[in-house]
Amino acid sequence: MTPLQICLLISALLFAIGFAGAVTRRHAILALVGIELMLNAANLNFIAFWRYGAHPEALTGVLFVIFSIAIAAAEAAVGLALVIAIYRHYKTSNLDEVKELKG
């Protein structure tokens, strides 16, 4: 296995763990955390391809990861604000109990 393949396998495993958590956990915060893990797995892929790819001097992978980190921060802020708003409204943060669209 080349180093690139090892990196890709690690990030695939991280993605699978994040996906399993986001789908199976009942708490809204942990679903968000799972999504963050999937985003980070994608970032690791970008860095690995940048490091072992054809044109590392172009810095494309690094810049994509920087922008992706910024997007992930915005997503975490809005997502956690939504979790807090849902908790205020329904008095629960269990995703299985939040099933009404009516306010």
Binding site: T2, P3, L4, I6, L8, L9, I10, A12, L13, L14, F15, A16, I17, G18, F19, A20, V23, T24, R25, R26, H27, I29, L30, L32, V33, E36, L37, N40, N43, L44, I47, A48, R51, Y52, G53, P56, E57, L59, V62, L63, V65, I66, I69, A70, I71, A72, A73, A74, E75, A76, A77, V78, L80, A81, I84, A85, R88, H89, S93, D96
Partner: protein, 170 residues
């Protein structure tokens, strides 16, 4: 691949599994911090210093604190008594196992991945700043706008609901 990298990867993966499977949310948040620090260490070992430190700054510094605050504000710090996993958990685990198998199979059998290892690229923060201010200046501005909008939106969403009679009266 060096031994420190593999050790960091194994610690990161175990912490990720712990973050997704522990019952107490505070413990989950702590293992989440370990995952992010481990990922930052992996970025540093791959030669991406700026991204590694940005990861520590943004994730360990800001996102982890946000998560802890969300746990505090939703009063879910205690270990719950009922089940923490959704009823259909088996399908979720099965789908993620299938995803991992497919990804791993395609990674191991791909013919397009570069075989030879290129030399470690010479990057400095100066280069990154240069590119960020010249070639990628428009995306940078858009990201700034997006972060501002997201911040204002998060504050508005998390504000206390004002009295509804006042709103409907208008």
């Amino acid at each position: 691949m060096s031994l420190p990298f593999l050790i960091t990867a194994i610690v990161t993966l175990f912490a990720a599994a712990a973050a997704m499977s522990l019952r107490n949310l505070v413990h989950c948040a702590l293992s989440f911090v370990i995952v992010f620090a481990g990922l930052a260490a992996m970025y540093l070992q791959l030669g991406a210093q700026f991204v590694g430190f940005a990861q520590i700054l943004v994730y360990v510094g800001a996102v982890a604190i946000l998560i802890v605050f969300a746990i505090l504000l939703t009063r879910s710090g205690e270990t719950p008594n009922q089940a923490v996993i959704a009823p259909g958990w088996f399908y979720g685990i099965a789908v993620s196992a299938v995803v991992f198998t497919m990804l791993g199979w395609s990674v191991l059998n791909s013919k397009t991945l570069p075989k030879e290892i290129s030399a470690a690229p010479e990057t400095s923060v100066k280069n990154i700043g240069d590119v960020l201010m010249n070639k990628y200046v428009l995306p940078l501005e858009v990201i700034g706008l997006l972060l501002t909008a997201a911040m204002i939106g998060a504050v508005i969403i998390a504000l206390k609901e004002s009295s509804k009679t006042e709103k409907s009266g208008k």
